[in-house]
């Protein structure tokens, strides 16, 4: 008889049901899309939107459940559900932004939307992974599709360049991540997250150089994905060159997924050896915040500026990670606010953009407030949130992370972060200056003919304020989510009964 | 231990030599056989009998083709065109021949024989992952043609090389799928075990050859194998009328000979694969270890050594017959167009192969032969 215990696999459909939905939807989109002209791809977009919504509903079912499925490959907990939900929201926003953009720029619809769905699948896997190999495969599914999405405007030289740069550095970082996994595998004898945690928690591993090497390599690998300085050099070029909805998707979705995996591996499973990696993250966080913010100041392209701002925000998030397990919920909350804010900001950029790269410069925002007061107002909300001005979501997120970091005694790092916030205010406010205090700029066209985009902007603005003004439920769910992964009832509990 | 090593070495050399000499015979068949089919005389010095018709000159007959041809070619000038990549140009023919030669060593050409108490299997290397080894080495065959085409600094050669590469990669897929279904049927990667699994009979008379359980896979392997050999109707990489020999247009002398040798060796190899996977390898219908068990119930006892040797002969017979068949196909059919070739590969053979694998999987599961 087979030496393999099939009963131990624990087939539970619930956690992968949303992913199955997405996979099927992607194939349907591909098949349907064969006969649809690139300039009429809105229908495909709506189909994609609907499937994401269905996946969203199914994902809600994971909330409150705990355990592992598929022989430990999938973790069932609110942590994964939280990230999956936010990722799905980000994807929905991306689709809403893309509906007109894709058709207008003649992006091949079937490929675009199906790749988007595949990418979301990869991200969700990263969030729900229960072993390192699923993290790796999720990461690759996400990355490979995003490489293509970045370069999907094939006749656009910038888009090409973005794709190749992202691809080369992404693949390069994958090598480091894998080597890290290999070393961790050597040190602990397993690649399943629960057993790794148990092995590390037993205390015998404290200073095993193999483990430390592995952790270091994995930091490099994840550092590339979250665009932490000094592994950030791809981000600005890629953000600038990629089609704007894809940029939004990268700035939010990829970052969410990368942090989901990063946090699950480091803050949950490597937590017993936290002292070993927190110092490294300290340095990286400081570099990332400072580097991102300082270079953002001199940018003239709004996408590039937002890219550096995204790097800077990764720095704040890394600050949370460096501060240790306590700040886990803060990072989750921050990511939630960050997601809406950034999606909104990129939506506004899309609203301004026209074929041929008009509308990508900060100077194009000049006088926007006079012509489109509501659009400018929404952008102002997003920028203020990014700058961390109360009462927007960005402020409470920063507040949360800083306070947790301070409670862990990271005063120096918090002060660096705070000074960085001032620097960041400079360039965010520069856009406000352009919108409200200067003349010129580009005319916004057809806003009324783009209901999905307008809806995206409005919803994002609403969410940015709501999450900031009344944060309690989101903080509670973030805390609940994080503790479900790291707490006693987390991934190490007995398998969920099917 | 030692004797196994020595035997292994001997068997390997034997097998390679056999393969190569088979190629030489194929060269002869190529000359005369095609002439026969196409109703022409062919090369008139190449006769089996060897009796010269004119001037009483001694006619060396078959030797003329099999020995004199290579000797002549190897003594010609080895020409490397200007601008060619000398290193790769020299390396390419051997890269082409080498994978084929090392593939021969895993083909089982007979059952075991007992020599001074040592039971020696009649295959050069009895690999547990033999089928994978096959796929691996066949996969490497691409590089010879590819690099020959590239290194010659000749656009016909490059075109030929590209065609060869694309074609071989495409058809390898179908070939792999065919082999996979056979592997699934027998549940092993070991070629000798696959052959052994084809011993015995169904219904009292039908040999348990895989061709009867996997007819589709046989056809797939046959077609894909023919394509792998880059011969008509799949000879687009070297089509004389378009590319004037394709990827080895710039080769002369010994290296050219090596390429030609590779062609015939590949043909022999494909025949061996077909024999091993589908035609029972060295199995002879109704012949067991102890002798013939004919369907009617008749029994003819034979000594074990004789049975083994008969197996070797049977293997050779099957291989030669298949070689002839492949040759006949070659001499009969016209050439494909390149798009037809690709369409056949990707839209015909690959889906069929996948379908076959799927059906095989269902059957295997249904009959409960899962480990």
């Amino acid at each position: 008889m087979s030496p393999f215990n099939l009963a131990a696999i624990n087939f539970v459909w619930l956690p992968i049901l949303p992913m199955v939905v997405l996979t099927v939807a992607a194939m349907v989109v591909l098949l349907v899309g064969v006969r649809i002209d690139d300039s009429e791809s809105e229908g495909l977009g709506l189909l994609t939107l609907a499937s994401l919504a269905v996946a969203f509903v199914f994902t809600l079912g994971i909330l409150g459940q705990y355990g592992v499925a598929f022989a430990g490959a999938i973790s069932i907990d609110s942590f994964s559900a939280f990230f999956e939900l936010v990722i799905l929201i980000a994807a929905m926003f991306t689709v809403m932004m893309s509906l007109d953009y894709a058709a207008e720029n003649r992006i091949p619809g079937a490929e675009y939307y199906s790749l988007l769905l595949f990418s979301v699948l990869g991200m969700m896997l990263m969030a729900a992974a229960g072993d390192l190999i699923v993290i790796f495969l999720g990461l690759e599914t996400m990355s490979i599709t995003v490489y293509v999405l970045a370069g999907i405007m094939r006749r656009n030289a910038k888009s090409n360049e973005a794709a190749i740069k992202y691809f080369l550095l992404g693949a390069f970082s994958t090598g480091f991540l894998l080597y890290g996994i290999a070393l961790v595998y050597g040190a602990t004898g397993t690649i399943k997250l629960g057993p790794i945690h148990d092995a590390l928690a037993s205390g015998a591993m404290g200073s095993n150089p193999l483990l430390l090497g592995g952790i270091g390599m994995m930091v490099i690998g994840f550092g590339f994905k979250v665009a932490a300085v000094p592994f950030h050099m791809w981000a600005p070029d890629v953000y600038e060159g990629a089609p704007t909805p894809v940029t939004a998707f990268m700035a939010v979705g990829v970052k969410l997924a990368a942090f989901a995996a990063f946090m699950r591996v480091f803050m949950v499973d490597f937590a017993p050896v936290g002292a070993q990696w927190q110092t490294v993250l300290w340095v990286i966080a400081a570099l990332t915040m400072t580097g991102g913010n300082l270079i953002a100041v001199v940018q003239t392209n709004i996408k590039r500026m937002l890219a550096y701002s995204a790097i800077a925000h990764a720095g704040y998030l890394l600050l949370g990670m460096a501060a240790g397990v306590q700040s886990g919920p803060a990072i989750l909350y921050y990511l939630l606010g960050y997601a809406f804010t950034n999606l909104g900001a990129f939506s506004v950029v899309i609203a301004l953009e026209r074929r041929g790269e008009v509308g990508n410069q900060i100077s194009d925002f000049r006088g926007l407030a006079a012509r489109q007061p509501l659009l400018a107002g929404a952008m102002a909300i997003f920028l203020l949130s990014l700058a961390g001005v109360p009462p927007m979501a960005g402020f409470v997120g920063k507040f949360y992370i800083f306070s947790e970091a301070l409670h862990q005694g990271y005063v120096g790092l918090v002060i660096i972060a705070v000074l960085n916030s001032v620097v960041s205010a400079y360039y965010y406010f520069y856009v406000l200056v352009a919108m409200y205090m200067q003349e010129g700029g580009v005319e916004v066209q057809r806003l009324s003919a783009r209901p999905a985009l307008v809806a995206a902007i409005g919803l994002a603005a609403l969410a940015t304020i709501l999450i900031g003004v009344y944060p309690q439920p989101y903080i509670a769910s973030a805390a609940n989510a994080f503790h479900s992964a790291s707490g006693a009832e987390g991934i190490h509990s007995a398998a969920l009964e099917p | 231990m030692t004797i196994e090593l020595i035997a292994g070495a001997i068997k390997a050399i034997l097998m390679i030599v056999a393969g190569l000499s088979l190629s030489l015979f194929l060269l002869y068949f190529e000359r005369k056989g095609s002439a026969l089919i196409q109703d022409r005389i062919g090369s008139n010095r190449a006769t089996l009998t060897g009796l010269g018709k004119r001037m009483g000159m001694p006619n060396l007959g078959i030797i003329n083709t099999t020995i004199a041809d290579p000797v002549k070619m190897f003594t010609k000038e080895d020409f490397i065109p200007a601008g060619a990549d000398k290193f790769l140009h020299t390396l390419a023919p051997f890269l082409s021949l080498f994978p084929v030669m090392i593939t021969f060593v895993v083909i089982p050409f007979g059952d075991t024989i007992l020599i001074s108490g040592h039971r020696i299997g009649l295959e050069a290397a009895n690999l547990n992952a033999g089928a994978l080894y096959l796929l691996a080495t066949i996969g490497l065959g691409v590089y010879g043609a590819a690099l020959a085409g590239w290194s010659s600094n000749n656009r016909w050669a490059l075109l030929g090389g590209i065609r060869a590469t694309a074609q071989m990669i495409s058809y390898e897929l179908a070939m792999g799928l065919a082999i996979v279904s056979v592997i699934m049927t027998f549940g092993t990667l070991n070629l000798q075990e696959i052959v052994r699994g084809q011993g015995g009979v169904w219904f009292g008379f039908l040999p348990r050859w895989a061709i009867f359980t996997q007819p589709l896979a046989f056809v797939l392997l046959l077609v894909a194998g023919a394509a792998e050999t880059k011969r008509i109707p799949f000879d687009l990489p070297e089509s004389e009328s378009e590319l004037i020999q394709g990827f080895f247009i710039e080769y002369s002398g010994g290296k050219q000979a090596v390429f030609m040798l590779t062609d015939f060796a590949e043909q022999a190899l494909v025949a061996m694969l077909l024999t091993t996977f589908f035609l029972g390898g060295w199995q002879i219908p109704w012949l067991m270890r102890d002798g013939f068990h004919l369907p009617g119930g008749a029994f003819l006892a034979l000594p074990a050594l004789a049975v083994s040797l008969m197996g070797v002969v049977a293997f050779l017979v099957k291989v030669v017959a298949l070689c002839m068949f492949l040759g006949m196909v070659r001499w009969t059919l016209p050439r494909f167009r390149y798009d037809q070739l690709m369409r056949l590969g990707w839209k015909g053979l690959v889906p069929l192969g996948l379908f076959n694998v799927l059906v095989t999987a269902f059957v295997v599961v249904a009959t409960g032969r899962v480990q």
């Binding site: 705070v418 406000l432 200056v433 205090m437 200067q438 903080i475 | -």
Partner: protein, 527 residues
């Protein structure tokens, strides 16, 4: 009965702001803005009427859970320190809107009114918050409208001024945020309870080093806002380039946020450090007074002149605060109100002049009194109030401050007097250059006197000056209890400091690290 009063006060302007966003007709915008500024004004007078002068603690207090995860509550309350600042805010906002509607702001009135009212919410919220988190939020919220007011409706290098203003303020406030977080963390360690509530945080025991750092962070934030020398450089740019209403609010109310912050947060939270820091801050205050006055004297631009006079005046306020005795602080608060009224009035007047001539260069004017006698008269009153002429409001504040400073450090009072003299000097000199002498520019011949609306704007200002100059008692009596309560903490700290310097006195009473439950006996000892 009084529940929800302060909430209504804070959020009425915000509701008004949102309401205005829906308006499109210009008249309707100004009218509704004015009405929505009158509502909080009325409410604040109601609060004044209901305010109990005997109680030192927060009145009208409301407290609801807001973000329980952080122990953050929505806690607002009003006491003697904030009472009149609230009134000042509502009055000045109303006047500014009234004034701006009269032609000063012509483009994008909707946004202007929106930002003004949001600004009012921010200012009132910051004044009324008892929860530190809430305070911080309003503290930041008031930044943004002011930024837009300067940047959109300002003059000259308005963008530079706006950005400079925001960045300066942000540096301080974010460091203060860190300090707040640290303080809350210490509270968490000590009371095992996370809370941003001010009364609780007053009790947090800190080591000397911690206290110094935290005080430094708070003090930096507030000092930038005040602005104290040497972090005052944003002020001149912001004032000069802001629109009139912006300057009025900036000088009238916003600068007070800094001094208010010292009184409400920096000093009572860290009394020991505050006592230690008296010499430093008094020195800075005096430098500010004299420096501001000297620089103001040299300014060719009226607004810039007033801006630097603010530096000087707020130096007085800081001097009073850091006298850390009832006289000084009462005087400081009184002077905050005075400065709000008189500098606000001055900015309004300069704005009116600017509207007529589109310049503020002093050299452009001269001999105006003949053409605009009403204007000149009002200008005179306001200016004299700013100088501190007895009978007008400025005198009371300056007197109290100098008294307080004298009681603390005599030399300081001497310098302060020099400041007063210099102040009179540059103000009168300016007045002379603008109003008297021959009319040198032909355009000045034709400028018209104040309109009815402008007089309506200035009348309450004059009335306030007279009232505050003649009847200080009703104000001081309401301010005093809260100040005394606050000073009790300071006195305790001071006593302890003195004890530490002379350890043999009452050494038994002193624990190595001061704990809050010993406070009553300490206070007794101090007396």
């Amino acid at each position: 009965m009084n529940g929800g009063m302060l909430t209504a006060l804070i959020f009425l302007p915000l509701i008004g702001a949102l309401f205005i966003l829906m308006q499109s007709e210009e008249r309707a915008i100004w009218n509704s803005a004015f009405i929505f500024s009158l509502l909080p004004l009325a409410l604040s007078f109601y609060v004044l009427a209901e305010f109990n002068p005997q109680v030192a603690d927060y009145q009208f207090a409301e407290q609801y859970d807001w973000i329980p995860a952080f122990g953050i509550t929505y806690h607002v309350g009003i006491d003697g320190i904030s009472l009149f600042l609230v009134l000042l805010t509502t009055i000045l906002i109303t006047l500014s809107i009234l004034y701006s509607g009269g032609g000063d702001i012509e483009e994008r009135p909707r946004e202007f009114c929106f930002f003004m009212l949001v600004l009012e919410t921010g200012l009132l919220g910051a004044l009324l918050s008892v929860d530190l988190f809430l305070f911080y939020i309003f503290w930041e919220v008031m930044l943004i409208p002011m930024y837009f007011l300067i940047g959109i409706w300002g003059h000259g290098r308005k963008i530079y001024a706006a950005v400079k203003f925001v960045l300066f303020t942000m540096v301080g406030s974010l460091l203060m945020l860190v300090a707040i977080l640290y303080l809350v963390y210490s509270a968490h360690v000590h009371f095992n309870r996370t809370s941003f509530d001010l009364p609780l945080l007053y009790q947090v025991p800190l080591t000397v080093t911690e206290g110094r750092w935290l005080f430094a962070a708070f003090a930096l934030a507030f000092a930038i806002k005040v602005p104290m020398w040497p972090v005052h450089t944003w002020l001149a740019d912001a004032h000069t380039n802001a629109p009139t209403a912006g300057s009025v609010i900036l000088a009238g109310v916003m600068l007070k946020m800094g001094t208010y912050g010292f009184l409400r947060f920096a000093i009572p939270l860290f009394p020991t450090v505050a006592v230690e820091a008296i010499p430093l801050f008094m020195a800075l205050a005096i430098i500010g007074i004299i420096y501001g006055a000297l620089v103001a004297m040299m300014q060719p631009d009226l607004k810039r002149l007033i801006a630097y006079s603010s530096v000087s005046h707020l130096g007085f306020v800081m001097l009073g605060i850091f006298a850390l005795n009832p006289e000084g602080i009462d005087g400081a608060i009184y002077q905050m109100l005075n400065h709000g009224v008189s500098t606000g009035g001055l900015f309004l007047l300069v704005g009116m002049l600017y509207m007529r001539r589109h310049t503020r260069e002093i050299s452009e004017f001269g001999g105006l009194w003949k053409r605009v006698p009403v204007y000149a008269a009002i200008f005179m009153v306001v200016m004299l109030s700013s100088i501190g002429l007895p009978g007008l409001n400025g005198f009371i504040g300056e007197f109290l401050i100098m008294l307080g400073a004298f009681l603390r450090i005599r030399l300081a009072a001497v310098f302060a007097v020099v400041g007063v003299i210099l102040g009179a000097l540059y103000m009168l000199w300016t007045y002379e250059r603008v109003m008297f002498g021959p009319i040198t520019r032909a355009v000045n011949e034709t400028i018209g006197d104040l309109s009815g609306r402008e007089i309506a704007v200035m009348a309450p200002v004059i009335a306030l000056m007279l009232f505050m100059g003649l009847f200080p008692r009703p104000l001081i009596s309401r301010i005093e209890p809260s100040v005394t309560a606050m000073l009790a903490r300071v006195n305790v700290a001071q006593a302890r400091l003195e004890l530490e310097r002379q350890p043999n006195r009452l050494a038994a009473l002193l624990p190595a690290r001061h704990t809050p439950n010993r406070e009553p006996e300490m206070a007794a000892a101090a007396r």
